[in-house]
């Protein structure tokens, strides 16, 4: 199996820093920002972005949580899946600016499920989407607001984001 590294550890760091600055710029500061990571890699990315936001602007209130979308998938009954924890930060999401964080944006179905899940937890003022990699091939009218890297791929290829929290090293690889 041939695999190619498209982002190494330093590339990922740089991309997350840029995304963090873009989030602050778009929101004109850290007010009301809530980061929600989608398990499992999105959760780690959300925590990293939260750390960077805090270092850039200490006024960021470190509102970071986890949003599991297993029970909201449009193919929820196709296979039995492990259900993971959802942790909504103590400030809730009502009237907040929720930034969804995921590792790879592909069909858009995960994000659609996440939007449904968010509705059950409250009514944010705005929902935005940050992803480390956008690989195209959308099946729904969904786009990301903050993108680490646009990566043109063939549908037969697979993209894997590896993060040191769960994997041996930080890198993004593409393979057949």
């Amino acid at each position: 199996m041939s695999q190619r590294v498209v982002l190494d550890g330093a590339d990922i760091d740089r991309a997350l820093k840029r995304i963090s600055h873009e989030i602050l710029e778009a929101n004109e500061g850290p007010k009301d920002i809530v980061l929600l990571g989608i398990p499992t890699r999105g959760k780690h990315l959300a925590k990293r972005i939260a750390k960077i936001l805090e270092s850039i602007d200490p006024a960021f209130e470190n509102q970071v949580g986890v949003l599991d979308i297993t029970m909201y998938r449009d193919d929820a009954t196709s296979t039995e899946r492990v259900i993971r924890t959802t942790e909504i930060p103590n400030g809730g999401i009502n009237d907040k600016v929720v930034v969804l964080v995921d590792d790879v944006l592909y069909s858009g179905r995960t994000v659609r499920a996440a939007l449904d899940a968010i509705t059950d937890y409250g009514r944010p003022r705005q929902v935005k989407l940050a992803v480390l990699v956008d690989r195209g091939h959308r099946e729904l009218p969904i786009r990301a607001d903050f993108v680490g890297k646009n990566l043109p791929t063939a549908k037969t290829e697979r993209v894997k984001v590896q993060l040191s929290e769960a994997d041996p090293i930080d890198q993004v690889v593409i393979f057949q």
């Binding site: 029970m71 909201y72 998938r73 009954t77 039995e80 492990v82 259900i83 924890t85 959802t86």
Partner: protein, 310 residues
Amino acid sequence: MKHLTSIRELSKASAIALLDNAQQLSQVNDRDVKKLPALRGKTVVNLFFENSTRTRISFEIAAKRLSADVINFSAESSSVSKGETLKDTAQTLEALGADAIVIRHPLSGAPKNLAANNWISASVINAGDGSHEHPTQALLDALTMRQVIGSTTDLSGLKVLIVGDILHSRVARSNLLLLNLLGAEVEIAGPNSLIPEGIEELGATISNSFENSLAKKPNAVMMLRVQKERMQGEYFTSHQEYSRHWALDSERLSMLGADSMILHPGPMNRGFEISSEAADDPRSKVLQQVSNGVAVRMAVLYGCLSGGQS
């Protein structure tokens, strides 16, 4: 997992995975919107040949929290009283669109029969059959024990004492199987006439004294309900006699360790097998058991109704 008719269908790993999912689903109870869309479009039928308001309501809430449609079918008020067979009833329900049949039946083995005979392609979930098994009760008990001791895996080393009418108890049988699977040490105690022969082969030591068992400092004491409807006098001489030896009264409560837990499958006969003092003690986890019942049944319904047609 297509069906759940017996704890014997679970491996240790699949039992723990089921409890993990139930633990996550128990969070839904704390939300404003207590509903998940996972089983939208599925139909769950509660087919009850025995009265059981609690178990039926628990399964009904579980199915509704997952957005399934629920039909309650109680046998007394149906064609069953006109002589319809279980096979015909089940096939009729499936023709009406049932994806899962939750069955409670007075005959041991009825759910297994329904699942194994290829009469229907719907999932079959055992909600209690005769004196055989009640798997979701054992799972909710195990989930409660895990939460109390703070375990996220098995129950290895946990000492559990089950007290009362073991002979008629499907709760005890399912618990024996699951607790052994999860590595707990089980002791059963009760009057000789209510301890079935050979029960130790399921993995339990037998005690004929509640006091001796309590002296061994069990981590959990599970009091079984005395099923008055099953007692016709020959099993013990009188209710007073039973209570004197086998009730969790204030004296026995004082022998219980400070971090032990009291479990009861409900409904409780206060003043008979359990005193009000014990039932209301902070160590009693009875209401936690009830909440966990919904979460466990959600996990079982999700498990049975997902995974395609395998």
